[in-house]
């Protein structure tokens, strides 16, 4: 343990209201600590810059998966294990379940949360591509009230996002409009399990009379944020998924992402594999 522990504080509020009051009373001083699976790694390495945390793990207001006719709503503290075992998610949002099943190992899946995955804001996180492809919305709460916003656009740059210091991410909502979609999710990590993504690709698509009616294409680990490839989607609309279309889509994709060389992979590899995955996804829509 490299951190100087006396420098750190962790406080456990009794309720969501108490947590929000604490966040409001000293803006920027307190940050949430959910499963701690991202935070503890930094603490161990002596690289956790922020020092005061609110333990939100016990706040039942932020738990649970609920379904209405139009939406499935997940508490920010929903764990990967809970995601994988929910029958509605398995049926209607298989990519989110697959992402959950490929995140870390069992211990991480029992402890890591969707809210933490979103706010930790790693471009290599594995759930955001699925959430973006499903048009997720998120709810931010504070003592000032609650606001819903589309998840798309929430992240604005590397570790930058539209959340105020007094706000908590409370819920994530998925519209139940996936009937008839083809789902394609592929995490390309540094190995088959317990890996950080080098490229993570999530897409849904629908064809009618051999033409692409709708696609939603999201790629992770290829830019400072997870990228929803809207231009590529636009270029595909109404096209047949033939070789020519695929080549054009790949060319468009290249303009939407900006992968880099790092300790895990190369820009060249990420770019090429992202194109391959797009091509493979479109090929599945051919028949």
């Amino acid at each position: 343990m490299r951190a100087f522990i006396p420098n750190y504080q962790l406080t456990t509020p009794a309720s969501l209201a108490e947590a929000l009051t604490l966040l409001e009373s000293e803006p920027g001083v307190w940050k949430p600590f959910a499963g701690g699976t991202d935070l503890m790694v930094l603490l161990e390495a002596g690289r956790l810059a922020h020092r005061n945390y609110i333990n939100i793990w016990g706040l039942n207001e932020l738990r649970g998966i609920e379904a209405t006719d139009t939406h499935v709503t997940l508490g920010a503290l929903t764990t990967y294990t809970e995601v994988q075992t929910n029958p509605i998610l398995r049926r209607e949002f298989p990519m989110l379940c697959q992402a959950a099943s490929e995140t870390g190992g069992l211990a991480i899946q029992n402890r890591g949360t969707l809210g933490g995955n979103i706010v930790n804001a790693s471009p290599a996180a594995d759930s955001p591509p699925a959430l973006l492809a499903y048009d997720a919305e998120i709810e931010l709460v504070s003592n000032r009230g609650s606001r819903w916003l589309p998840y798309q656009g929430f992240h604005t740059g590397y570790k930058q996002m539209h959340i105020d210091p007094d706000e908590l991410l409370a819920r994530i909502r998925l519209p139940r409009n996936t009937a008839g979609l083809t789902h394609y999710y592929r995490k390309v990590g540094t190995r088959k399990a317990q890996a950080i993504s080098k490229v993570c690709f999530a897409a849904v698509g629908k064809t009618g009379q051999g033409k692409l009616m709708e696609t939603r294409i999201v790629v992770g680990s290829v830019a400072p944020i997870v990228v929803r490839c809207v231009q590529t989607e636009a270029a595909l609309r109404g096209q047949r998924p033939d070789e020519e279309t695929i080549a054009a889509a790949c060319a468009s994709l290249v303009r939407e992402i900006s992968p880099i060389d790092d300790i895990r992979s190369t820009a060249k590899y990420r770019l090429q594999v992202a194109k391959n995955l797009l091509a493979d996804f479109l090929a599945t829509l051919r028949t």
């Binding site: 343990m1 490299r2 006396p6 590899y269 391959n276």
Partner: protein, 740 residues
């Protein structure tokens, strides 16, 4: 019923799974301090200033620098060139400069961050090519720690008339041992009582030898105790001498017990790794595929100090020509210096590097000559009575042909070769998985090289108690591989007693004789033989004193021990290493009997290559080996499975990312070792051919499984893709570049 060949459970297994086994970090002493090392921020240069900054109560800390060393400031090993603490010049990043101790380990980390070391940098070199090119002279006169020349026949006379000359170049990378338990030690040291160290280690007497010099104390004033050790793989062969010395220096100065435990990040960034290598082959063959001449240039990167590089180089050199006969062989090898932390022992010890090159090259030669990899090897395998590269006459029965036939059958090699060729040619316009199979044939010598075992003069003692329990005293360590269990089985066999009546004494230099280091696949074969003769000595003493009949049962043995001890005070015998007859080695010419015995093996890999992600995956693996007699089938299979898994890591995953001589990916998140789903079923088969001079007929097996997987996998990848790859680790990023 003989205990040899039976799957006895691990002697210390119950203690380990119930958490009762005590590792060094589980121990604590009254008043104990914690210690840390402050390391060099630069790869090479002069230390100009050390400042103690920040809001730290510095007067509470014990601070040790090179000036505080009571004896010699070097780690006594081969060339004694590595300092315990750099005094004024550093030669690699993370080189130890200063030691700190304090009661509070959190404050200690805060203090470590606040020591500022300033270095006037000098040009450094980070790879073996630059070292060979003498881009900068950083060690001695020519950057060369050691070189060898093995010369058999005369290769120069062959080139002009050969039908084919095939050349190739092959490279392997560094690899981290990644034992489960990091390096650690606790020391108590004072002028009065001397120095005692508890630690995680493979070789207590190496640490002993080093600390005698460091403290300039008589041998009996240094005591080294091995605690339960969570793996080593070579990574705890020479390195513990350093951390034990550091803990002892802090203990000496503070007058208090000091514990030093590395965390994973420090263990990875600062301790030894497998030597990176480059091998060049030039081979002359006849048109019908007979080897005429083999010339090999083998170079390893030793890092900043010599440490064990000469010995690693030696094993790599001797194994570089493999299980083949060739009348003319010249091997030229060098270990060179670079400004990276010293590379060190790692399972296989140079052999996996040179065997990788050879077994890739053999496939290339076969292709050039127009023979299958199988047929080409069959035409050149060594047989009983023929000579190796060092002109060692093989005196044991060896049948590589039969091993190859069996391994290819077990793996369905021929059927797969044919089927994959057909399937790989089919296309449906989508990304495919292409498949291939390949193999490697190789041998691994057990025990120290050449006259090493004779110089070591290893000793094992056995002692009986009044309860009829036989205690084995040896410095050979249990590090997870099964020493305790194997020694018990051997002693049990020799005495005709239950294994439960055999006790293995914790290695402690105050109580156990020096049975040599736990390395080089020597513990079962060499030290096990000493266990066998030591306990046989006990039995003969009892029989000779007429207290025990020739045929006896357990209760008679117990009675005899009690009686003997009542009469004579104690019952203890020792046995010292005797080389097998007719073993000769010439250290000057590097000719003769390099090893007492070899294990022989054929490994077959099936791989798939994913066109979508460029990832290679090993789908199936057959490991067939002849290792003499198998002493314990579960432990033996465990060694092979673990070794193959580690070798798959070496081949396809484990990439040390270097940045100016420092490992940049020193976390398990980014240094990728395979998980269970990244490795195939490893199908292990043994062929048994008892070795006359091994206990129960056993030969060494610990390192063997590290040798064959890399070339087998790359041979299979060539079969799958039609492209030849000659460097490992071979990551998807490299595969992509070569295949696009």
């Amino acid at each position: 019923m003989s205990p040899i060949g039976k799957a006895f459970p691990r002697k210390e297994g119950r203690k380990k799974v119930t958490g009762k086994a005590l590792y060094v970090d589980d121990l604590s002493f009254p008043g104990m301090l914690h210690g840390v090392t402050v390391r060099s921020p630069s790869p090479r240069g002069r230390i100009t200033k050390i400042s103690f900054e920040g809001d730290i109560p510095w007067d509470e800390f014990t601070v040790v620098t090179a000036k505080d060393i009571p004896g010699a400031n070097y780690v006594a090993l081969i060339l004694n060139d590595q300092p315990y603490l750099a005094a004024d010049f550093v030669n690699h990043p993370e080189e130890p400069i200063l030691l700190l101790a304090h009661r509070d380990k959190y404050l200690l980390e805060e203090a470590r961050r606040n020591v500022r070391i300033e270095i006037e940098e000098q040009p450094a070199i980070f790879n073996l090519e630059d070292s060979l090119a003498r881009k900068e002279i950083i060690w001695g006169e020519d950057n060369v720690f050691k070189k060898y020349l093995v010369d058999k026949g005369n290769v120069d006379e062959v080139w002009a008339n050969a039908d084919f000359i095939v050349e190739g170049e092959y490279e392997t990378g560094a690899q981290e041992q990644l034992y489960i338990e990091n390096n650690g030690a606790i020391a108590i040291a004072n002028a009065d009582k001397g120095v005692t160290v508890w630690g995680s280690m493979q070789c207590p007497y190496y640490v002993h030898k080093a600390l005698v010099k460091l403290f300039d104390l008589p041998e009996e004033k240094i005591r080294i105790i091995q605690t339960e050790t969570g793996g080593g793989f070579g990574g705890k062969e020479e390195y513990p001498s350093l951390i034990a010395g550091h803990a002892a220096l802090l203990a000496w100065k503070s007058g208090k017990p000091v514990k030093m435990i590395y965390d994973r990040a420090e263990d990875m960034v600062a301790t030894t790794k497998r030597h990176p290598s480059r091998t060049r082959h030039k081979t002359a063959v006849t048109k019908d595929g007979k080897l005429l001449a083999v010339e090999i240039d083998f170079v390893i990167d030793g890092g900043a100090y010599c440490t064990l590089s000469p010995v690693v180089l030696s094993r790599g050199t001797i194994h570089s020509a493999g299980p083949y006969v060739c009348p003319n062989v010249r091997i030229h090898s060098r270990a060179v210096a670079t400004n990276v932390p010293p590379h060190g022992a790692f399972r296989g010890f140079g052999a996996p590097q040179s065997i990788f090159a050879l077994e890739r090259h053999m496939d290339k030669v076969a292709r050039t000559v127009g023979l299958t990899p199988e047929e080409f090897r069959r035409r050149n395998f060594i047989h009983e009575g023929e000579t190796t590269a060092t002109s060692q006459v093989i005196r044991e029965r060896v049948d590589m042909d039969q091993l190859l036939t069996r391994a290819l059958q077990l793996s369905n090699y021929h059927e797969k070769r044919e089927r994959f060729a057909r399937e790989n040619a089919e296309s449906n316009g989508r990304f495919r998985k292409k498949r291939g199979v390949g193999f490697a044939t190789f041998m691994h010598g057990a025990g120290f090289t050449g006259s090493g075992e004779v110089y070591l003069q290893s000793v094992v003692s056995a002692e009986a108690t009044v309860e009829g329990v036989v205690r084995i005293l040896a410095a050979s360590t249990e590090i997870g591989q099964g020493t305790n269990t194997i020694f018990s089985q051997i002693a049990s066999e020799a005495l005709g007693l239950d294994v439960d009546l055999i006790e293995i004494v914790q290695p402690d230099t105050a109580h156990v004789p020096n049975s040599g280091p736990t390395v080089a696949s020597r513990t079962s074969m060499v030290v096990g033989k000493l266990v066998e003769s030591a306990v046989t000595g006990l039995k003969q003493t009892l029989i000779g004193s007429s207290l025990l009949p020739h045929e006896y049962g357990q209760s008679e043995f117990k009675r005899a021990c009690a009686e003997y001890i009542a009469r004579f005070g104690s019952l203890k015998t020792s046995s010292t290493y005797q080389p097998p007859p007719n073993v000769h080695w010439d250290d000057e010419k590097y000719q003769g009997d390099a090893y007492g015995a070899y294990a022989w093996a054929v490994y077959v890999a099936e791989v798939s290559f994913d066109e979508l992600t460029y990832a290679a995956h090993v789908e199936d693996f057959v490991a067939l080996q002849e290792v003499g007699r198998v002493l314990n089938p579960v432990l033996a299979a465990g060694q092979i499975e673990g070794g193959v898994a580690q070798a798959i890591g070496f081949t396809l995953f484990e990439n040390v990312v270097w940045k100016d001589g420092r490992m940049a990916n020193n976390q398990m998140t980014n240094y990728i070792i395979p998980t269970p789903v990244d490795i195939p079923p490893i199908r292990v088969y043994f062929e048994e051919n008892p070795y006359a001079y091994g206990p129960g007929g056993a030969k060494g097996i610990g390192e063997l499984p590290m040798d064959g997987a890399a070339p087998a996998i790359l041979n299979a990848l060539e079969n799958a893709t039609g492209v030849s790859f000659n460097e490992i680790p071979l990551l998807p990023e490299t595969l992509m570049v070569k295949l696009l």
